[in-house]
């Protein structure tokens, strides 16, 4: 019959509890925590790298043709996100950021959607060139 | 004379118990029970026996203090006991027949489906 924690238990009973009073006092997440996704559409260049690296496929993109160019909408569905931060790391322009905000409990799944829209101006129409192939290549890389 | 009786009945009883304890054949165990029975019957008779006594046939008017006779009660007891012993043996033998039919053996070591 050994009670190795007896002393500690009795000592702790008279100490202040180590519980964090969370809902009353908001708590900062630690440095480097990957929480809620923040998307800066103004920085985005619609390169699509993030979609390529996203494992669960939580990023969707819709492109609408409007007068000025393409209306690009990026939708991040956090209900499907693993918060791996690969998209942010790969984004060449720093348009995606994983904040320290962890308040991700919602009753309506729509609240989990982060989306941003920007209009990517269509480039001025290039003169028609005899060689088609390089132009196609250029277009592709733009897309 | 009477001592021989006692010795004989003790031998019979002990022999009977010996057979019950050591013999594995159920038939022999029943013979052992019979031996014990006979030993006890002999004991009863011997207890009632008075050397030189007459047969115990009297009416109350004939009974006198000096009349010397064999105790009649043990004889009655012996008769009862013999009858009961015979019944028990008959019962046991009928069981043995049934057991032989059902188990195919009379070995006490094998007739032990109920144990533990």
């Amino acid at each position: 019959m050994k009670f190795p924690y007896l002393k500690e238990a009795i000592k702790s009973a008279f100490k202040k509890p180590s519980t964090e009073p969370y809902p009353k006092v908001n708590k900062e997440a630690p440095e480097g925590y990957r929480g809620k996704i923040k998307y800066y559409p103004e920085k985005c260049v619609n390169c699509g790298l993030c979609i390529r690296v996203c494992a669960p496929g939580c990023i969707t993109r819709t492109i609408e043709k409007v007068e000025e160019g393409d209306k690009v909408t990026f939708t991040f569905y956090q209900g499907q996100c693993t918060f791996c931060s690969l998209c942010a790391d790969f984004c060449p322009r720093g348009a995606i950021e994983l904040t320290k905000d962890y308040h991700l409990a919602v009753t309506d799944p729509k609240d989990l959607i982060v989306s941003g829209t920007f209009i990517k101006k269509a480039p001025p129409k290039p003169p028609v060139q005899p060689q088609n192939q390089p132009a196609a290549k250029n277009q592709e890389s733009n897309a | 004379m009477i001592l021989v009786n006692y010795i004989a009945c003790i031998i019979l009883i002990v022999l009977g118990f010996y057979v019950i304890l050591t013999k594995k054949n159920i038939l022999k165990i029943i013979i052992g029970m019979g031996l014990v029975d006979y030993g006890i019957n002999l004991l009863i008779i011997s207890i009632g026996f008075n050397p030189g006594g007459t047969a115990p046939i009297f009416t109350f008017s004939e009974l006198r203090p000096e009349s010397f006779f064999v105790d009649p009660v043990p004889q009655a007891l012996t008769l009862t006991s013999i009858v009961i012993g015979a019944c028990v043996t008959a019962m046991a033998l009928s069981l043995v027949i049934k057991i032989k039919e059902k188990y195919g053996t009379l070995d006490a070591d094998k007739v032990r489906r109920l144990n533990g």
Binding site: Y22, P23, P56, C81, T107, P109 | -
Partner: protein
């Protein structure tokens, strides 16, 4: 008066039942950490029970594998009313990285309505506590609707 007491008690003593439907254990560990001294969900009356019959709130983790689908449906049916289903982590909400796998039959809302979902992979314990707080509100409403 008894009714008021009962209604009041519903927000003070929600009991949890934890259901793992093929989770990677990340969320499970976070659920356990909610009841550790640091977060101590018991101070708000939360208690992990061992059987669905005692539960008010069911915490579902994992992307509903085909092995666990029938078990999930059966177990959820066995919880007495009123009950609240909370999806912990992204998996039950949307099957997360397992999306499209041959053995995953999620997401959860194909089978039962999800009342609260806590996103995260895994969610932080604080987020789970937030989710539970929301679940209590829903539990109260369901109780009111029941009567």
């Amino acid at each position: 008066m008894l009714k008021e007491l009962i209604a009041k008690s519903f927000e003070k003593s929600p009991w949890l039942f934890h259901l793992n439907t093929g989770s990677c254990n990340g969320c499970d560990i976070e659920i356990v950490s909610v009841i550790t001294p640091r977060y101590d969900a018991e101070r708000m009356g939360f208690k992990l029970t061992g059987t669905p019959r005692h539960a008010d709130i069911v915490l579902v983790t994992g992307p509903i594998t085909s092995q666990s689908k029938d078990r999930l449906i059966r177990t959820l049916a066995q919880v007495p009313d009123p009950k609240v289903v909370v999806a912990i982590g992204s998996c039950p909400r949307s099957t997360n990285v397992f999306n499209g796998s041959y053995s995953v039959e999620g997401p959860l809302d194909k089978y039962v309505p999800i009342d609260v979902s806590v996103a995260g992979c895994p969610p932080k314990p604080e987020a789970i506590i937030d989710g539970l707080a929301k679940a209590i509100e829903i539990l109260k409403e369901k109780r009111r609707a029941m009567k």
